[in-house]
Subunit: 338 residues, 2 copies
């Protein structure tokens, strides 16, 4: 029996270098926070191999549940559902449905994770569509950004639902009573944007919500940090996020190129090494690892497939906040009387 | 009479610090390329004041056409059309319609510039909608990115038209025979994206075009530089561009913050000053100044409202390439037999 307060189900087989990075991530996490129990789903032999010599993982912190298959990144969502019932992902999700776990984390196939979660854990009453939310660093701290790609088609109820859901998530993670919500658009004037967006602007303006409505926000304003929750449709959100990631990568490449293009530049880089290390640490994308699936009856966290153990550790840390903050219950309260 | 090969109409009153920056930009340009004549529209007194002591602008290079009003950035497009007939912007556009100028540049109100251009210069036959294209730096050079916000609603013909138009622009600016075109999407697989996008993917795949069709491209791939022309709808394009601009700004702020947070950092910055200057020069957004309105019967260039004289110079340089490459004629050839 476990003395832990919360139980997290982990799909140990998804993403690169699994299950090693998953177990290392759990080890890092348990070192600083020992009140969690992990149901670890996957290839028992491989997992037990990885668990050897882990200083912070004791028997009271985990159980390994052997699964005979895994869902690959290349699997179509349809195929994953058809053949995936014995997979580590499926069974980890199922354990949330069956209340054996409080939350599930996977680094595997995003589409499959979303659809199997929807199938097993089901949507919260009065929420039509699930959203994927992420953390977005800005000049004052961190924003919540959604939807990152769960929904290509969007209607005015989705904008309102996602504003409410995103606000609850922000409250739980950053402990702010009334978060500020903005809708991503091509201009800040009320008349800008497409019909669906304008309709939702009016609807959101005309009612009392669990957030402060800022109105529209443009892409270049996300960085200012005045908006806590940035809401957009999944098509735009996915492209905006990936374009921002690409831009960070582009700037890095350009800076490296110029510092290494001359002997003087190389010397400057060596002298400034500790400063660059600090910049790298501050902007480390691993800190923002974790796509949060929202709108479901249980919390589902998607860790980046390419994430390493430290990034996986951050996604567990995020999960811990979501569990301690009782996110799902708080979201449900917003949709009970609809 | 002028010995110039091309005549450019300039709205001298749009944007910040006009007309001073406009005249300075023309002066910078004429210093290296003297075969252009400028029809300068705006407040004659102010313009002549600015022209004083300009070394590279001689009387054979310009004519000032006095206009009694100007369109403000705050003017609604509807209002601009109603009251703007004597404005510098309107009359500069009109001079292209009346074949007194070959191209028009303005730093003014984007919406008004687009609509008045459409009204006076008109669309090329068989093109439904105008696009705004821009230059996007990448690891291998520069891409063309469109639409930056002219069209919020998009259909499959628009994607195809904009691919063709963008390809001709790339050919003229970068002298590449068969540019590679990609459609921005949330994944690279054929099944991803919304219906309109999937339909256009099929249509573009099934016909011979003036470009090589790469298929879909994700936001983080723009930076790689393998795609010459990135096509998307105006809503997504505007948000992607502004998010990228915001991200560059965010990284700059973070780097500055950390270098200036300690004495050692400040010393490192001073030592590396020349290297940072080179990075700043390489990534200078002024080099990419100029939104190119495409699909009209004449070339229209939008210089950034906040652009300075150097940025305005770059937009004239871009205009020169467009004129020398005979862009409009080349675009028209693609739509003649539709």
């Amino acid at each position: 029996m476990s003395s832990a307060n919360y139980t997290i189900a982990v799909d140990a087989m998804g993403g690169d270098n699994s299950p090693a990075k998953i177990i290392d991530g759990i080890d890092l996490f348990l070192k600083e926070d020992n009140l969690f129990f992990f149901n670890i789903y996957g290839d028992e032999k491989l997992i037990i191999e990885c668990l050897r010599n882990k200083k912070n993982i004791s028997e009271k912190n985990y159980k390994v549940i052997h699964c005979t298959t895994k869902i690959e990144n290349e699997d179509s969502v349809r195929n994953a559902i058809k053949i995936g019932k014995d997979s580590s992902m499926w069974r980890a999700i199922e354990s949330v449905k069956e209340k054996q776990s409080d939350l599930i984390i996977s680094s595997g196939n995003t589409g499959a994770l979303l659809l199997i979660s929807k199938l097993l854990i089901k949507m919260i009453d009065n929420i039509d569509k699930p959203a994927i939310a992420g953390l977005w660093p800005n000049n004052k701290g961190t924003s919540i950004f959604l939807d990152l790609g769960a929904n290509i088609e969007f209607n005015k109820k989705n904008y309102l639902d996602f504003s409410k859901i995103g606000a609850e998530l922000f409250k739980v993670i950053f402990d702010k009573e009334i978060p500020v919500v903005g809708l991503l658009n091509v201009g800040s004037e009320e008349i800008k944007g497409h019909e669906e967006l304008k309709n939702s602007y009016n609807e959101i303006s005309n009612q009392k919500n669990n957030f402060l409505f800022h109105g529209y926000i443009e892409g270049n304003e996300i960085k200012n940090g005045d908006i806590d929750v940035v809401v957009t449709d999944g098509f735009t959100g996915n492209i905006a996020l990936k374009t921002a990631e690409g831009t960070v990568n582009f700037i890095n490449t350009q800076i490296k190129k110029i510092f290494s293009s001359s002997l003087f530049g190389k010397i400057c880089y060596l002298i400034s090494y500790s400063v660059f290390k600090k910049i790298k640490k501050n902007l480390d994308p691993r800190k923002y690892n974790g796509g949060i699936f929202l709108g479901l009856n249980g919390p589902v966290i998607k860790s980046h497939g390419g994430a390493d153990s430290l990034a996986f550790y951050y996604s567990i840390k995020l999960s811990a906040k979501i569990l301690r903050g009782n996110l799902i219950k708080k979201i449900k309260l917003n949709f009970e009387n609809e």
